[in-house]
Amino acid sequence: MSLLIEQTLNGVQLALLLFLVAAGLTLVFGIMDFMNLSHGSLFMMGAYFAATFVALTGSFIVGGLLAIACTALLGLAIEAIWLRPLFGRGHLDQVLGTFGLVLFFNDFVRLVWGAAGRTLAVPQFLAGHITLGPALTYPVYRLVLIGVGLVVAAGLYLLVQRTKTGMIIRAAASDRDMAGAIGANVTLVSTFVFGLGAALAGLAGLFAAPLLTVQIGMGDNILILALVIIVIGGLGSIRGAFLAALIVGLIDALGRAYLPELLRLVLSPVAASTAAGALSSVAIYILLAFVLLVKPQGLFPARGAR
């Protein structure tokens, strides 16, 4: 039983990390109708900034806040310089334009930080583990990550559903031109959302840095998962991204935890591990295909989405 709880926590932790990335991606798509592949690069830059600033300042919190701020600023700069001309264009142009950015940032990182990658240790005050019940202990850092993820999710929900800015975000998401016509400053809100998305990617990069190694291309893998999540959840929907992230995170963690056990009844341990790994990652894409087939708008589409 405690194993099941622990594996569920592992799944939730992965889910919330993915949610931090997917939230920015889906917000930007919802409001600006813009497909931004360079969102994964912002995640990577966040991790590199974190590794650098934490080493410089010697403090996870100060360095982390600096990293998030820098990632947000970088996101705004990208938006102003490179993405704005692409706003009115078709999705293919946007995908190509932002894919170029992905290549640029991968080589930029190689140039600035070198090919070897960086490491960021879990901060001392979060390095331990706590006992949650009989035979159930869990690393503090991962619990904090779950907490931060939940707070961000709640904050985003309140922002979008309960504030005037959120009202404009929702209005712009369902009809950008009409929202502009009735006097909402859509451009400003767009920029704000883009900065917010970048900051969330930076936050995800910061928290991922000690768990994964900080390396070139680390954003590419997470971008693919984030894309799967926002499609399953419904493009532009925060609620959808949250729930889809939970589904994907739990499938991955529980699949890795229990599938080998099941397959071992018929296969050797090595083969079972290979098959289970393949199956649990394939399961996500099967779900994606199924969702696209049955509910092309996603499981939890944003209201008013076309």
Binding site: S2, E6, Q7, G117, T119, G128, T137, V140, I216, A257
Partner: protein, 390 residues
């Protein structure tokens, strides 16, 4: 007639001079991982090889050494591509390096097809020791199963009855896990094979370890993944609760990250930095002087690989075209190894000792390894009888 003859004579003289000038150097292609989080392994192995070249005055016999380094990005297909490039466009005389078993397995065939010697500085996949052994392949390291076999024996000596086994799911991971299971006499209560090289989050597997409650855990996570694994093992509260043993995981490369987390960690190895022989003393001292850190078995093996190649060049008086003589010279392995002794088995893998080692703090406060015993003496790998070379 006379003029034609004179021209021909002159031309052939030129050809001889030209061939001699070309023969004045040996081109060595070196394939390893120089990018990504495991670049520190490739660089460490390169440093070991380069130190040997320094000691040789950058000459092997009477030949100047020309090195060409290539990055395999820890991908088998890239390793194969750069190996083919070294063989076909650079026309190297020897290819070496090769840290990863899957990269090596992909790269052997092009070298064998080109009738060029390929010498592993680290990887030792079981296939190349047995059925797929080749007259063109030599190992300067070990066969994958051996080091964990020594560890399995150590676990028996230490009275471990229930063992949990964790390794990445690729050629070396499977060999290593098979190795520890060959000698370990207790019960293997859990076995996990994780994605490689992508997976660096081990939360799912660590949860399983906790639920199974083994007497000990054995892992094989080379390079950066090893540092990640031990750190997460500690964060999960398992360090100090369930003893952990490893192969190729806690070493001179990961110790600077692990520090006190690894203090007292026990593993097995064919070389330890404190081995008491003059060659090793000089190697360790000069390595620390040149690079400012302790060498690892990675750099030690690559030091030996360079010395091995040099010994064959000397024995054949620099005649690189006489492949049979060169092979015979490699088989003799007539050089001073940092391991103290070095001789080849019929399958071109070394017959050597395996030691138990423990992480200690040196007087300067740096973390390093100390030999605490010999587990196997003159050990042969278990695959050589399947090799057609006798």
């Amino acid at each position: 007639m006379v003029r034609t003859f004179a021209t021909a004579a002159l031309m052939s003289a030129c050809a001889v001079v030209y061939a001699h000038a070309e023969a004045g150097k040996i081109k060595i292609g070196y394939v390893n991982t120089f990018s990504g989080p495991n670049a520190f392994i490739g660089n460490d192995e390169k440093d070991g090889f380069e130190l040997a070249l320094d000691h040789l005055g950058r000459k092997m016999g009477n030949l100047d050494v020309q090195m060409i380094y290539e990055d395999d990005q820890i991908k088998p297909e890239v390793g194969r591509q750069v190996t083919e490039k070294l063989l076909q466009s650079d026309k190297v005389d020897v290819v070496t390096g090769y840290n990863w078993s899957n990269v090596l397995l992909a790269s052997v065939k092009p070298a064998v097809d080109a009738k060029t010697f390929i010498i592993s500085g680290n990887a030792g996949p079981s296939q190349l020791a047995g059925e797929a052994c080749s007259p063109w392949f030599f190992s300067a390291s070990w066969q994958n199963d051996q080091t964990p076999m020594a560890l399995g024996e150590l676990l028996n000596q230490r009275g471990v009855k229930k063992l949990f086994v964790l390794a990445p799911n690729y050629a070396a991971g499977k060999d290593m896990a098979a190795g520890v299971k060959k000698t370990f006499k207790g019960e293997v209560v859990g076995e996990e094979y994780t994605r490689w090289p992508g997976q660096v989050d081990f939360s799912t597997e660590l949860s399983k370890v906790r639920s199974v409650k083994p007497d000990a855990v054995w892992v094989f996570y080379p390079g950066q993944a090893g540092a990640q694994f031990i750190q997460q093992y500690s964060q999960a509260g398992l360090l100090g609760q369930i003893p952990i043993y490893s192969s190729f995981t806690v070493d001179a490369l990961t110790l600077p990250q692990l520090k006190e987390l690894a203090l007292g960690h026990v593993s097995t190895q064919e070389w330890v930095q404190d081995l008491d022989n003059p060659t090793n003393k000089k190697f360790v001292a000069d390595f620390r002087k040149k690079y400012g850190r302790y060498p690892s078995y990675y750099s030690a093996q690559n030091y030996d690989a360079a010395m091995l190649i040099a010994s064959a060049v000397v024995a054949t008086a620099g005649k690189l075209d006489d492949k049979d003589a060169f092979r015979a010279a490699l088989e003799k392995a007539n050089f001073q190894s940092v391991r103290g002794k070095f001789r080849y088995n019929s399958n071109h893998f070394p017959i050597q000792d395996f030691y138990a080692q423990e992480v200690v703090k040196d007087p300067q406060g740096d973390y390093t390894m100390k030999t605490i015993g010999t587990v196997f003496t003159d050990m042969k790998d278990v695959f050589y009888e399947k090799c057609a070379m006798k």
